[in-house]
Structure formats: structure tokens, C-alpha cells
């Protein structure tokens, strides 16, 4: 229980103006942007996020929630609700991995509230991060250490970690965005820019308090996913402890274009095992130009986890990760070829 003030942004310029003190997403930034609230309220109740002020982006929703397919690709406003995008027939038909990643996320209630932009910024589920009574958490208190290294780390990352933080990126949708090579549009105090989604999230790099490359005041306004044959033949596989309403212990997105029996183009990304949304380019290289046999899929799975390191309770991801990739590859192979021409 702590007091905070609340402001409603009347337009994008004002949101950017009010959001100048958002820092780069540190938990102790004095201002936080509010979209669906499904992560922010949760962490405020846990005293992890302690903003003095919330800037509600809700009034921008009419302008920033469109779902606009075109021949070039899919434009999605950042304030579109997960549920709406998941149910859109074009998303389901031409970008199935995107639809699946949304349908398999969270619960119906959360999907009705949560926005796309907020979703990619959701915070890790690391228990030591989510409970401020733990002193050692470099993500909350830079320089304090990492309790998860010696603690219970079953749901921690095996890829992209360093000794400053082994937290796992928890989301699904961002994993699908990686495989479909999305771009993200931002507007900030210095104007608007568009960058590959793959460059939005940072590695820990000894500074896990900075999770993204967003500049202070920058607001995510849209996502663009290019149309392609492989987007049409894409899948998202999510492995989790229970059938619904649960985060992944491993997930993989695959976008596949075949040339006869050979892989012409493939994109593979991983969730539930990495510090940030993770593109497995090494695994893609293993398969490109080769037949998609089980043996080749297994080799790709191993390549996807190259360099991975466990911390005890999460060692199983070193085995589960490759298996998840194989499963996703085989599911993609079983899909009919894309109907679009190019």
C-alpha cells in the first residue's frame, strides 16, 4: 500500500512527455506507463514496482489498436488486445505462430486485458525478483547479487545468462515475433523510429536492470510482421506443467519454407529457456538447404541450445530445449505448403 498519482495521456505526444521519467524500464523508475496493467499492477502489489506516477495509455487505444493486414505484411497497433489479435482470421491463416502464441498465453481474462506492447515488456517470473524481501537481485537492486544462482532455479534461463542474472523471459508472443522477423515502431522525445524486434530486448550484460533498448519516454506504437511463405507455414509449440494458464518451461516457434524436400528458408526461435526472446540462427543454418529429417531436426535442436548452461534445477532444459525444437520442426513439416506465391 503506497500512494501514487495517475494521469491519463490525451495523445501520443503527451504520453511521451509525461513518460520522460520512465528510464529504461528499471523497476524503480518514478514513472511507469500503464497499458493493460496485467504485469504492472501485479508487480505494484508485490512492491517490486514502486512508481510515484502512472501514465495511462488507455485514451490512445482507438488510434493504436488496429489490426491491418496487407500484401506486404501485418500491421498491429501496440494497444491491441491479445484476445482480439489471436481471434483475427488473417492472423490465424497467414501468421499461425502468432495466433497460437497468443492463444496459449495466460488466461482468457488476462488476454482480454493485456496489450501487445505491454506483453513484450512483461517481466520475468523469477521468484527472487518478484519478492522484494530478497536482498540479492541485480535486476531490482543493481550490484546486490543474484539469489537464483544458488536458489531454486527450475524456471530460470539456460541461454543468454551471465552471473549477474539468470532470469528467464516468460512470454510467448515475443518468441513468435522473433521467428517471423517482426519490426517494432517506437515514438519518443526525439521522434519516431522503427527497429527490428530482435534488437528490442537486451542481454543481461552485467546490467540486468536495463531490460530493453527503449529510450526514456519511448512508447511502443506498433508491430509489423512481413508476409511470407514461411510465416504462413509457422507453428508455436509451448511445453508447460499444466494444460492451460501457465508459463512455458520450454517453447519454440518455427517458420518454414520448403523447396521440394529441402529447406529453403527457416526461422527458429525459443522461449521458456532464455534470458530474452531468442533467435536460434545456428539451428537455422544447420537445416537450410537440407532435408527436414528427424536426424537433421535433432542436430538443429542441439545447435539451438549451443552454449546453454544450466544452474542445477533447470539443467533439464538442456535436454528439453532441443526436444521442443524437434517437435516444432516436425509439426511445421507436417503443415501443408504455403498458399501464397512469395
Amino acid at each position: 500500500m503506497r500512494p501514487f498519482s495517475y494521469a491519463r495521456a490525451t495523445d501520443l505526444a503527451q504520453a511521451v512527455h509525461l513518460g520522460r521519467q520512465t528510464g529504461q524500464g528499471q523497476t524503480d523508475a518514478p514513472v511507469q506507463l500503464l497499458a493493460g496493467g496485467t504485469t504492472l499492477y501485479d508487480l505494484m502489489k508485490l512492491d517490486v514496482m514502486v512508481p510515484d506516477r502512472l501514465v495511462d495509455l488507455g485514451p490512445l487505444r482507438p488510434k493504436l489498436s488496429s489490426i491491418t493486414p496487407s500484401a506486404e505484411g501485418l500491421h498491429l497497433g501496440a494497444l491491441a488486445k491479445m484476445a482480439h489479435v489471436a481471434a483475427h482470421p488473417v492472423v490465424q491463416a497467414d501468421y499461425p505462430a502468432l495466433a497460437q502464441s497468443l492463444q496459449l498465453a495466460a488466461s482468457a481474462q488476462l488476454r482480454n486485458m493485456a496489450t501487445l506492447g505491454g506483453n513484450v515488456l512483461q517481466r520475468t517470473r523469477c521468484s527472487y525478483f518478484r519478492d522484494p524481501t530478497w536482498a540479492a537481485c541485480n535486476k531490482r537492486n543493481p550490484g546486490s547479487g543474484c539469489a537464483a544462482l544458488t536458489g531454486f532455479n527450475r524456471n530460470h534461463a539456460v541461454l543468454g545468462t551471465d552471473s549477474s542474472c539468470i532470469a528467464q523471459y516468460p512470454g510467448d508472443w515475443a518468441v513468435a515475433l522473433m521467428a517471423l522477423e517482426a519490426d517494432v515502431s517506437l515514438t519518443g522525445p526525439l521522434g519516431s523510429r522503427r527497429l527490428p524486434f530482435a534488437s528490442l530486448h537486451r542481454l543481461a550484460g552485467g546490467q540486468p536492470q536495463f531490460e530493453t533498448n527503449l529510450q526514456p519516454g519511448e512508447v511502443i506504437t506498433a508491430f509489423f510482421i512481413p508476409a511470407s511463405k514461411r510465416a504462413q507455414r509457422s507453428v508455436y509449440v509451448k511445453v508447460r506443467d499444466r494444460t492451460s494458464y501457465e508459463f512455458a518451461i520450454a517453447s519454440a516457434a518455427v517458420a518454414l519454407e520448403m523447396d521440394g524436400d529441402l529447406v529453403r528458408q527457416i526461422r527458429i526461435s525459443l522461449g521458456g529457456m532464455a534470458y530474452r526472446p531468442w533467435r536460434a540462427e545456428g539451428a537455422e543454418a544447420v537445416l537450410t538447404g537440407k532435408p527436414l529429417t528427424e536426424a537433421n531436426a535433432e542436430a538443429a535442436g542441439r545447435a539451438a541450445l549451443a552454449g546453454a548452461a544450466g544452474h542445477g534445477h533447470n539443467d533439464y532444459k538442456l535436454t528439453l530445449g532441443p526436444q521442443t525444437v524437434v517437435r516444432a520442426l516436425m509439426q511445421a513439416k507436417a503443415l501443408p505448403p504455403a498458399s501464397r506465391k512469395a
Binding site: R125, S127, Y128, T150, G151, V239, D241, R242, S244, T319
Partner: protein, 759 residues
């Protein structure tokens, strides 16, 4: 009882409190309206072992609306410490500066509003001297307390029991043997209703609104802790939003809230957080177990040895000692058991739905499955070969035991015959398919109880007793029993429960509630019938004048006889007064006459199915489950379960079905999902919320088929009623784990079974 109990029971009846519950009209303890309450918030420890060296309360006291802060320095000596679940010592809270476990209550902040209290609680600064904490088994610093004889009456010989020596010899000589170890995790009840307490003083009289499984226990224990006359304490809990064993003991909070209200001269209300529920109440302790079974080549057990290790707190020796149960299941000629308590820097555990059976039957029923493969024998047939109608420990007959009929009916409906016995041989698409089974059983317990029933000339009855509605349907079973005994419609009976101003009923635990309450209600109703009949035969204006009162019955709202004569209650009742009110007590066979007086003092004696002098009384059941394990990624799903139970006369098939089904689903949870995670270094709970403490969602329990096998057990108790609150969960964890083995060929001996163990 001069009538057939079957005439009372067995008709499916909707819950009489169902509408009140779904519309919010049902008042749970923290819904009770009290005037001008202040609000309490708890400060809990962030270390698991050490001492408090000081408080800085300045920032907390500066929060507007803060009224009082209780700490050991201010109130430590003002209450008597509560007793643990076993009646022995347990961890303390504000009594001293000692910290026994993570999340221990160390201060209570009281303020004008809930928000102020919570904010101030977050601003209490506590200085501590922390010591290295031992989290669980294997940690440096745990103390093992051996309790050599696991069952009462076991004789010791040197360092071990005579039974153990005999079991060792039989094991050594047997052609087929199994020697395996199992482990089960800590689990928390997580009832949806939190561990709330509201205390209101009126002069010397205290009312405690608190969810409880034992109204008279809460009343007397709170009085003892406060050093006041129990007559001055009233405990109220008309509805309980789930308890599962977590709300039956003396608590670590109640007396402090009462003291806070007294200091303030104002009602005080505490609604702790979900996370605090993981540390201020009890839990199911983790266990390690060792099982040795030996058998002849045709599957007859020649010996059984079962030893358990259970975690407890430093001061408490509480244990569930489930070997008491597992030693009763099969006809082994030599049975030896042992139990050990391992003291760690943890909160004191306590009862949790089928406390002894859930962990210990997992081990035994997993071991039986392993033995069936060692014997190359169908696991159901192995149980048939070792079935018995006599308690293998005492030699007494079971009051009734329909274990194999349960297996046969469950197996038939399940399609067990389609099972290919070879592990990892069945498949559907990408998924490996496994079938597994396990026995279920639970002792039949019954206690003393009292009730007050009044009958008005209008034909409306009131039943009042301090029984407990935990979500089981207790209001409805009491109403059914009274209505059918008095010849009324269920809607004409009003039931009052959950208030210690009403006649006492023992703790709603050990599945005794149904048997205990129905017997005393039937007794009171028999008294009503008797008095109406005697008044009628004495009255000249009655059609029954001069008849034998024993020939009169109550049916259809009238006094009747076999000749078709009748007299409505509107005429029969006024002969006895304005309304006919009776008070009745029932003491089950085998309990002393003092049992009722002891119950009034808060001590519930219980006739337990496992230590009766005449018979051993258990209910039995059988589970058949199908699991699917993904061939690559190894997620485990349970597409269907068929479970059969034989538990005497079923009072209300509607709520009985819910009880069984709920137990089965919780068994899925026990097998695949639930575990409280303890940080190995700090001994702190790290998944104290319902997102990270995983329980099944609807999609995890798509098809649960419950078979109620008819059973006439006229030796268990006069009404042939057996409690069913716990039996549904017993053995489910083993049945699923056994099915996982069948699907994959991989034996998992440590719960929960999760994907990573099958990779």
C-alpha cells in the same frame, strides 16, 4: 434405531445453502458485520532462524491512522503459547524474540483502515541476528528423531522391533523382492478463504469470527491462551471457504488479534495475504520413505517393511506416521514399520486432507505396482491375491471391505482389459499412453456430538449444532437426516451450524463429520417421534388414543400408523407445548461416558476405525487412470480417471460425487503439480502464491468418472455411514505415477512427477 437407515439416505439433493453461496448471501467469517472495526496487518520474518534484536517503529507509527503495534517487547508475556497439532509444543510468534521459521508472525500492526495497516506493516523495521537455517532433509543442522515403533503396540527388541527382525528374515528368504525409496514434497492447502480473524469484545465476553473446523476447540483454546473462562468466548464460522485440515488447530494469530482488540477497546479484523497463508498456518510436510516388499513367485506377500521420515519444526514432534494406515492394506504375514521426525528450521506442519495416507500410500501403492512388474502379474491381480477380510495387524475382521469389487467395477468401466502390460507399448499419435491403478482406503472415524432440534406445529424444524460447513455440504446432510427422520421435506428444515453457542460437535477432520452428525440428529429425531407418539396415545382426541406408541411413525408431515391413520403435526405438536424442542447427545460405541463432557471442554475423543476393539472399520476404493506423455517433450496429461468407492450408505449422492471428484482432482494435483518450493540456502518459501504453486485447471481434469459401489456395512456404526471427505485423494498420486511408468517405462519415485523427470 428401529428403522432402516436406507430410508433416510441416498436421494440426490441440491445443497440447501447453494443459492446463498453463489449469490454472496452466505456470510464467511470475515463477512460478519462488526461495528467500527480497526484493521490488523501482520509483519512476518524474512529469515528462517535467529533472534530479533530490535524494532524501529518510527516510520510505521508515522503512517496516518496507525493505532497500535504489537511486538514481543510490548505484549510477549500476555498470552499463553498455542499448542501444536499433536497437542505438544510448537513454534511461537510474539511470545519471544525467537525466530523459528520463514514468515513467522513477529508484529501485528493495527490501524483505522486496511490500507494504513498494510502500509505501516511494510514500514516496521526489524533488526535480526540471523543464524544458518536448515531447510529440509539433507541440510546441515537438521536433527533426526527416531520413533522406532511406528504403530502403537509394536514391541522393541534391542535397536529394532521384533517385527523388523522377522521382516528382515522373511525378506532375505523370499524369491521376489523389492527394496525402494520414495519422496513426497511439502504442500500447502491454499483454501480460497484466507486465514482471517475478527475479534469483538463486549465487556468480559469475546466473540471470535474465524474460519474453523472446530468451533468448540477454537472457543476453548482461545480462552486458555488468554487466561479467561471459556464460557466468555464465542467462536463463529457459519461457512468455511475450504479448510482441508488447515483450520482445525490452535492458530498462531487468534489470541494476538483478541489482545489487540482488548487493548484498543474496539473490534479488530485481520485478513492476511495469500502469501502469509503459506507460513502462518500449517502444511503437509515433505517425506522420505523406504519400502521393502517380498513375495512368493505367485504374488503372495511374505513381508512388508515401511519406514518414513517427516520434516517438522524444531520444537514440534508432529508426524502423520502413515505406516499405521499402510500396514492395514494387504495380507502380509510379517509387517514392520518405523517413523522418524526430522527437525528443521521450518514452520510446524499439520493435517492436510488424508494427512497420513496421501504421502504414505503413494509409496506403498507405487511399490505394489513395481512388485507387479517384478512378478510379471497384472497390478489389480496382485492386489486380489493379497486381499484380506481381516486386519493384517490386529487380526480383527474388517467391518466391511469391498476393495476388489471397487477394482472390478472401476476396471470394467475404464476398459482395463485393453491394457497391454508391456511398458511404453501403447501410443496415440505423438503421445505415449499409460494405464495405472491404485487402491484407496480411509478409516471410519466417529465422535461424540450434541444437537438441539425444535419442531413447530407448522411442520417446520430447526436443527442447531456447532458442526462445520467446509464446502462439503454439511448443512444439507444434516437437513436431509432431520427431514427424513421427522417425515418432513428437506425445505422445511432450517439448519444452524458454525457457532460455539450451539451444542458441540468435534473437529471436522478425519472424515468423521457425516457419521458423527447424522447419528446424533437421528437420535434427537427419535426422541421427538417418541414424545409425539406418547402424547398422542395419551390423548383422547387423538386417532391413536391407547395405541402402542412404538407403532407410530413420522411421515409426510404427520404422525401415522400402518393402518393408514394419521394426525397432522399441527395437532400432534401442540400437545407437547408451543413447540417441541429436544436436546440430544450421542456417544459412539467404544468411547467412555465422559466423552461428551470432554468435548464440552474442547477435547474431541474419537472412535477411530483403526483401533476399535470389535472390528477394523475402513472405506475402500480403487482408481484407474490413463495418462498421456508426449513422446518428445514429456508433458504429462490425465485425459480420464475412473474411481470406484464403497463407503457404506451414501447420504447425499450429489455432494458425495463432488467430494469424491474433488479428492480425485486433488490427487492429480498431488501427483503432477503441487510442491511448495523451499530455498535451499535460506529455508524460505519461494512460491507462496497461486501462480507459482501449481494446481490443476479445468483443462487438466477433463473426465472424472465416479462409481459409488453399494455397500451395507452394519458393523461400522448403526447408520452404516462412512466418511468420504478424504478417501477420494488417497492413492491417486500412485495411480498416476504407475500409469506414467506404464506409458514410459520410467519409474518416478519422487513427487511431483514432472516433464523433466521423464526426459
Amino acid at each position: 434405531m428401529t428403522f432402516n437407515p436406507k430410508s433416510l439416505f441416498g436421494r440426490p439433493t441440491p445443497r440447501i445453502d447453494g443459492v446463498a453461496k453463489v449469490t454472496g448471501a452466505a456470510r464467511y467469517a470475515s463477512d460478519e458485520l462488526v461495528a467500527n472495526p480497526a484493521f490488523a496487518s501482520l509483519v512476518t520474518s524474512e529469515i528462517a532462524r535467529g533472534h530479533i534484536t530490535g524494532f524501529d517503529l518510527s516510520r510505521a507509527k508515522a503512517v496516518p491512522g496507525v493505532l497500535d503495534i504489537l511486538t514481543y517487547e510490548t505484549v510477549g508475556n500476555q498470552i499463553k503459547a498455542p499448542l501444536g497439532p499433536d497437542g505438544g509444543p510448537t513454534t511461537t510468534t510474539l511470545e519471544s524474540n525467537r525466530i523459528w521459521h520463514d514468515g513467522q508472525i513477529i508484529a501485528v500492526v493495527v490501524a483505522d483502515t486496511f490500507e494504513s495497516a498494510a502500509e505501516a506493516a511494510g514500514k516496521v523495521h526489524v533488526s535480526t541476528m540471523a543464524e544458518a537455517a536448515s531447510a529440509s532433509f539433507g541440510a546441515p543442522g537438521v536433527e533426526v528423531q527416531a520413533i522406532t515403533a511406528g504403530r502403537p503396540g509394536e514391541k522393541t527388541k534391542g535397536n529394532q522391533t521384533e517385527e523388523k527382525a522377522a521382516a528382515d528374515a522373511a525378506f532375505a528368504a523370499a524369491p521376489v523382492k523389492l527394496d525402494v525409496r520414495y519422496a513426497t514434497p511439502p504442500q500447502h492447502h491454499n483454501p480460497i478463504e484466507l486465514f482471517t480473524t475478527t475479534c469483538v469484545w463486549d465487556g468480559p465476553n469475546l466473540t471470535v469470527y474465524e474460519p474453523s473446523q472446530f468451533m468448540w476447540g477454537l472457543k476453548t483454546a482461545t480462552a486458555k491462551q488468554l487466561g479467561i473462562d471459556p464460557a466468555n468466548v464465542r467462536a463463529v464460522s457459519r461457512y468455511v471457504g475450504g479448510a482441508f485440515g488447515s483450520k482445525g488447530n490452535q492458530t498462531s494469530r487468534t489470541a494476538w488479534i483478541a489482545l489487540a482488540a482488548k487493548r484498543l477497546g474496539r473490534p479488530v479484523k485481520l485478513v492476511p495475504t495469500r502469501a502469509q497463508g503459506f507460513t502462518i498456518a500449517t502444511y503437509r510436510a515433505e517425506t522420505r520413505q523406504h519400502v521393502r516388499l517380498s513375495a512368493t513367485a505367485d504374488g503372495k506377500l511374505t513381508s512388508m517393511f515401511h519406514e518414513g521420515w517427516e520434516v517438522s519444526s524444531r520444537p514440534s514432534s508432529y508426524k502423520v506416521a502413515g505406516v499405521e494406515a499402510t500396514s492395514r492394506l494387504y495380507a502380509a504375514p510379517v509387517i514392520a514399520t518405523a517413523v522418524n521426525v526430522v527437525h528443521a528450521d521450518r514452520a510446524t506442519p499439520g493435517f492436510m486432507r488424508a494427512p497420513a495416507e496421501v504421502p504414505y500410500v503413494f509409496a506403498l501403492e507405487s511399490a505394489m505396482d513395481e512388485l507387479s512388474y517384478a512378478l510379471n502379474m497384472d497390478p489389480i491381480e496382485l492386489r486380489r491375491v493379497n486381499d484380506t477380510q481381516n486386519d493384517p495387524v490386529s487380526g480383527l475382521p474388517f467391518s466391511s471391505r469391498l476393495l476388489m469389487p471397487c477394482f472390478d467395477q472401476a476396471a470394467e468401466k475404464f476398459g482395463w482389459s485393453k491394457r497391454n502390460p508391456k511398458p511404453a507399448s501403447m501410443r496415440r499419435g505423438e503421445w505415449l499412453v499409460g494405464y495405472g491403478c491404485a487402491s484407496s482406503f480411509y478409516p471410519n472415524n466417529i465422535g461424540p456430538a450434541a444437537v438441539r432440534i425444535s419442531l413447530a406445529p407448522s411442520g417446520k424444524a430447526n436443527v442447531s449444532m456447532a458442526a462445520h460447513e467446509l464446502g462439503t455440504g454439511a448443512y444439507t446432510t444434516v437437513a436431509i437426516t432431520a427431514a427424513h427422520s421427522l417425515g418432513l421435506a428437506v425445505k422445511d428444515v432450517t439448519v444452524h451450524l458454525g457457532d460455539s453457542d450451539l451444542p458441540p460437535v468435534p473437529v471436522a477432520g478425519g472424515s468423521n463429520n457425516a457419521a458423527t452428525t447424522t447419528h446424533v440428529v437421528v437420535k434427537a429425531c427419535a426422541d421427538i417421534r417418541q414424545r409425539l407418539a406418547e402424547a398422542a396415545v395419551a390423548a383422547e382426541d387423538s386417532p391413536f388414543h391407547s395405541a402402542d406408541p412404538a407403532t407410530l411413525i413420522l411421515a409426510g408431515g404427520a404422525l401415522r400408523n400402518a393402518d393408514g391413520l394419521s394426525e397432522p403435526l399441527s395437532k400432534a405438536v401442540p400437545r407437547t407445548g408451543g413447540r417441541l424442542e429436544v436436546y440430544a447427545e450421542n456417544i459412539p460405541a467404544g468411547l467412555p461416558a465422559s466423552a461428551m463432557a470432554q468435548l464440552y471442554n474442547g477435547h474431541p475423543l474419537m472412535s477411530r476405525g483403526g483401533n476399535r476393539k470389535d472390528v477394523t472399520a475402513y472405506a475402500f476404493g480403487a482408481h484407474c487412470v490413463e495418462v498421456r506423455v508426449h513422446s518428445l517433450t514429456r508433458e504429462i496429461r490425465v485425459p480420464r480417471v475412473v474411481s470406484a468407492f464403497a463407503a457404506g450408505n451414501v447420504i447425499n449422492p450429489t455432494t458425495a460425487h463432488s467430494q469424491y471428484m474433488g479428492g480425485v482432482i486433488w490427487g492429480i494435483s498431488s501427483a503432477l503439480h503441487e510442491a511448495t518450493e523451499i530455498d535451499p540456502v535460506s529455508a524460505r518459501v519461494i512460491n507462496a502464491n497461486l501462480a507459482d504453486y501449481i494446481v490443476p485447471v479445468n483443462a487438466d481434469a477433463p473426465s472424472i468418472d465416479i462409481i459409488m459401489v453399494p455397500e451395507n456395512d452394519d458393523r461400522v456404526n448403526p447408520l452404516g455411514v462412512k466418511g468420504i471427505g478424504e478417501i477420494g485423494i488417497v492413492g491417486m498420486n500412485a495411480a498416476i505415477s504407475n500409469a506414467v511408468f506404464h506409458a514410459t517405462g520410467k519409474r518416478i519415485r519422487e513427487l511431483p512427477v514432472r516433464a523433466e523427470k521423464l526426459l
